[in-house]
């Protein structure tokens, strides 16, 4: 049995005494990363604020290392929890270094003067998130992304047990988003820091989290490992996706499948089809594709975008049955796009398919770009 470091019991959160989400049961061990996902306005921030005591919970208790946060003063909390909030910080004449140094607040004396040790920790934290160069720049004059990293450095040098971040990647470009999540992972592993955050990027949530909680509606319905949470149906329901789909393998989303009877047949496989599928989708042209193997990367996208997919079991030669079906369907199309440039043993029937198309005098293209 694992020893939980952070847990909640029947936590009910909301504003002005009105419960928004009830009976939240979070259980986290040290060094784990929990990510809250869910649609806008579902209450992710509300939960985070209740955990950090910025919002009074309506019912239930939050425990950090067996101590209820209700029994902890703000000062006690400051040694345990550091936050990175979404609200925009307005500072006056403060350098980035000054801002990071405020993380040392709980440890400095009466007048808040930094010791050499404090200064070293500030520097280490800033170097860790790559903002040491910004130390003398005014906090209001750096970019949003830089500011976000400065705030992370601030949280790190507070030396907390838990870091709570509300949408930490909102203003970051891909490079810094990856960097930030990497740092969180490192902190979790090397310093045993527990991380609780909300994220919009599901692909990132899937990759960085140990546990994921889906926030939507009055009760938390799903709380589990990424493996459990990230599946087609659950995510579709969570975000009420009606005009797109979610692919758990890539953690990515596809646009809506083009509607109507398909008059285009795409011969593809081995990743050659994906670009064509997406282009067809953009042009709102419904299409049929084949013959793919179930383990083909094209199959993943075709599943969401194509009106119909002809496929064979993984690692099997394309069988006669499926070939005949595909051929029949292809003959009912006006256009055939062949993405394949070479054929192997497993998919050589696609070559036959293509030759049939040529001999039948269909319009033939090597790319959808030629269709207007």
């Amino acid at each position: 049995m694992m020893e939980y470091f952070f847990y909640t019991k029947q936590l009910t959160v909301g504003y002005n005494g009105k419960p928004l989400i009830k009976d939240i049961e979070i259980r986290l061990s040290k060094g784990q990363i929990l990510t809250l996902i869910g649609p806008n306005g579902s209450g992710k921030s509300t939960i985070l604020k209740s955990i950090t005591k910025h919002l009074k919970s309506i019912y239930g208790t939050v425990y950090i290392g067996d101590r209820s946060i209700d029994d902890m003063s703000n000062r006690d909390m400051s040694y345990q929890v550091a936050v990175v909030l979404t609200e925009r910080l307005r500072t006056e004449l403060m350098t980035c270094g000054d801002v990071v140094a405020t993380g040392r607040y709980p440890y400095t004396g009466m007048l808040g003067i930094l010791s050499e040790q404090d200064k070293l920790l500030v520097r280490n934290a800033m170097e860790l998130v790559n903002v040491w160069d910004l130390r003398d720049r005014d906090f209001t004059e750096v970019s949003d992304g830089q500011r976000q990293r400065v705030m992370l450095a601030r949280a790190i040098c507070q030396e907390p047990q838990i870091i709570v971040l509300d949408e930490p990647t909102s203003f970051l470009d891909v490079r810094y988003e990856l960097e930030l999540l990497n740092i969180l992972r490192t902190m979790a592993k090397e310093r045993d820091i527990t991380v609780i955050m909300s994220l919009h990027e599901l692909d990132m949530a899937q990759k960085v989290s140990d546990l994921v909680m889906c926030v939507k509606g009055e009760y938390i319905t799903h709380f589990g490992t990424p493996r459990e949470i990230f599946n087609r149906e659950l995510i579709r329901e969570l975000y009420e996706l009606s005009n797109g789909s979610y692919n758990p393998l890539f953690g990515s989303f596809e646009m809506e499948r083009p509607k109507g009877g398909a008059k285009v047949f795409v011969i593809a496989g081995g990743g050659t089809g994906i670009t064509e599928y997406r282009t067809l989708q953009k042009k709102r042209i419904p299409f049929v594709t084949g013959i793919l193997h179930e383990n083909d990367i094209d199959y993943q996208i075709a599943y969401d975008l194509a009106s119909e997919v002809f496929f064979e079991k993984s690692f099997e030669r394309i069988g006669e049955g499926i070939y005949q079906n595909a051929l029949r369907r292809m003959k009912s199309c006006d256009t055939v796009i062949n993405c394949l440039k070479s054929y192997g043993e497993m998919n050589e029937r696609n070559k036959d398919l293509y030759e049939e198309a040529v001999s039948a005098g269909c319009f033939n293209f090597i790319s959808v770009d030629f269709i207007n």
């Binding site: 005591k53 040694y79 929890v81 609200e87 004449l93 403060m94 607040y105 400095t108 009466m110």
Partner: protein, 343 residues
Amino acid sequence: MEMRDESTKRHLRYCVTLTIFAVLFVVLVILNINLGSVTVRIKDIISILFNQGGSVTDHGIIWKVRLPRTMAGIILGGALALSGFLLQTFFNNPIAGPYVLGISSGAKLTVAIVMVMVLSKYPAVSSAALIAAAFVGAMISMGFVLLIARTVRRASMLIVSGVMIGYICSAITDFIITFADDASIVNLHNWSRGSFSGTSWEDVRVMAVVVLLTSAIVFLMSKPIGAYQMGESYAQNMGVNIKLFRIMLVMLSSMLCACVTAFAGPISFVGIAVPHLVKSFLKTSKPLAVIPVCFLGGSIFCLGCDLIARTVFAPLELSISSVTAVLGAPVVIGIMVRKKVRG
């Protein structure tokens, strides 16, 4: 090791500013004692101050009139600047101050009421009673401002509300003064326009105790004030007891403002202009550095303004507020233009 360079630079900047301020301070103190309807030579001043020398008239002028008045300028000016700094921190608004938020006017109103009520029966009002009255008035105004601030989140609307509260209080004060006894009118009238004149040593003693004590507490609160500059949420995360801190800040700023109003009446713009100037000189908003310099800056500003008020049209005396407004209001406008105060 460049961080060390930066901190040396800051240190240097701090020392330079402090030196300039100290020199200005000394010069202004001397000028304030020196100049006036009767000019006392500097050589005589020294002998009067330290050797009990000089003519009897000069001795009287300096010890009974100019020195207490100068002391009032020093103490109350510092108090005003600090009060402004606290309010700016509290409301996270660079143009908040005791005067524009109507807190001075609230204090003025209660002081006027007490004065009229007491002076009709007794010959004088004790300074302590006046401070208490001013404190009550300041807190009432502050209460209204806080109520408005809770519902109206826009920075500029807060100021507008404060100005309105100020107008209401001033109107009622005028009303009270109009119907007051003839004897107290002259006194009240001068005072209600803002002036350091007529300060006695007893007043100086009381204000010194109240202001210096309050300011010392403010200085000791530098650390949480610094945290609060980062906003309430982060301050809480740093371990500040927000409720207690907010109460303290309201009480301290009201106390400082009340003390000024009780003795010198409402004085405008010092509370906004001085903290802003000090911060831009020091290039930091760190309370530990700003608070002492702010106090000194307030003293200098008020000494200068009082000097102008007394001497420019001598023997006529301007109200100190007219001078502080002329010098301070442009600074406020400058802040608004530079920072494009939101809302």
